[in-house]
Symmetry: C2
Amino acid sequence: MAAHEELLQTALRERGLRVTPDRLHVFRLLEASPLPLSIPALVEEIHDTGMNQTTVYRILELFTAMGVVHPVLIGHGSVGYELIPPFRHHHHHLVCIGCNEVIDLYNCQLEHRLDEIVKPYQYKILYHDIEIHGLCPKCQAKEAEDPGPSAH
Amino acid sequence: MAAHEELLQTALRERGLRVTPDRLHVFRLLEASPLPLSIPALVEEIHDTGMNQTTVYRILELFTAMGVVHPVLIGHGSVGYELIPPFRHHHHHLVCIGCNEVIDLYNCQLEHRLDEIVKPYQYKILYHDIEIHGLCPKCQAKEAEDPGPSAH
DNA sequence: GTAGCTGCAAAGGCTTTGCATCTGG
DNA sequence: CCAGATGCAAAGCCTTTGCAGCTAC
């Protein structure tokens, strides 16, 4: 069994919660996905496994409260969920606003700088998100030939 | 009239769109709010002005497409909207996961570093979001006396 | 005058909730 | 065995859509 999955089992048992097939299944879907998954996307994925969609909502609420996942913005103002450390490597996102492609960025070396910025507020920092938005090479080319996206 | 509002009017007219009382009203609400506003919050605000809630949705969709606002995560996985440069000063968020307090951080000095990180991907960067999550001093104290938030 | 904007009302999704049933430890 | 988890179904939101009437320019 994967090391991350054992971590999840431990985290659940420590709280007196149960390791169930549904919870493991949702965890594996998140682990297998290169991108954050929205709840509707997860519901879609589990649709033919017999798992109820209410269960998906409850599992994500639980995972969020446990610090297993956290919400991030994906695409046009919708919310997705992804695993966070120690359940997954720390990383950030580079998002194309043209085609919604998402690239994971590892090697974030900004922690020290962020600590400095936040010091005056006496917050205890738990985690941070960075999302960089722009146009991927393909969409830059598309924009160059098109007249550009007029509103509406 | 505020300089930012003139910018909005210019941006609208450049696209052959109209400057309407409703659009100005939504813009002013966003400008007056220290925090990002969710659509339901905006709908609440305009409820007794006679403006229809459908209009709020359409205006936010338009403002997003125009680059006047962008979505950010606020609180527990919900989405809010806020003005972005040149309609507002560039800034980031420090969010308390205990009480959902949001503090604006100005003086972001990370642009250069982000450029370096992203260089290999040949993206054209348009903007970035940074959200730092943690516990405010008050919630740290609360956690110290409480047994801490068990799941569920 | 006319393209564009808004109001209204209905439809369609998404999310939450209560309760009965089932199950992991 | 029993606290905890899930399924089901209904209810309550949130969001989108089509069309008729209104307004900025």
